[in-house]
Symmetry: C2
Subunit: 121 residues, 2 copies
Amino acid sequence: MAKASTRACPVAAFQKMISGKYKLRIVWDLKHGPRRYGEIRSGLLRGATGSAEITPRVLSRELKALTASGLIDRKDFVEVPPKVEHRRTRKGKSFVPVIAAIREWGERNLSETAVLADAAE
Amino acid sequence: MAKASTRACPVAAFQKMISGKYKLRIVWDLKHGPRRYGEIRSGLLRGATGSAEITPRVLSRELKALTASGLIDRKDFVEVPPKVEHRRTRKGKSFVPVIAAIREWGERNLSETAVLADAAE
DNA sequence: CAGCATCCTGCGTGATACTG
DNA sequence: CAGTATCACGCAGGATGCTG
């Protein structure tokens, strides 16, 4: 039964796994190696103003979900001052090409003209 | 602000475009050619009981969004009885490999056994 | 057959404040 | 520094009924 569902819709499982606005970007941002909590937070959405982006609550949740999905790994240096690092797992690394494919397609089909048409709200 | 996000992250635009539970599946299901509204609806989530899945409201919205995104094309045979077909556009077809990549990865890493094994690991 | 109108609910997301 | 606690809100998405 589970076989049937996943076989019918791996896409659904994928969507569930990367649900949320930041998961894909987090995994992608980890390409340079392990990153600390604060690094992800400040490096994720540098807006034009460099203003804050993701709230601690949300980032925490995303990281937990990604860890639960097995895409990233959490390393806690247990002592003070608090230090936690996240890095991609094997599974996470194997997922990178998929993100790359998405990015590549997005850059060709969603950039500029397409984006403007879509962002016309 | 939506503009900024799409600009920096094609991934974000991608997520926005395929947001929702059915868009990817709809595009995928159109691989066999044009499909009528009812065909998509009854063929999308044929459960064990074959019960209904997506409501007209939701399906309609998904189709509109996909049309607005340029992934699918809507053909309305204007006369009675109502007949509407949807098919993939060029853009939609170019998007297929991405879905295929997602599916392929999902089948290898998100299938029941893999999920369980990875969760244990 | 292919929708639209209305109501309702859960959840993802953000803002703010606090803590070990 | 790396979170947790609480409140609030918008929106996706389901249910139901009606229509051209």
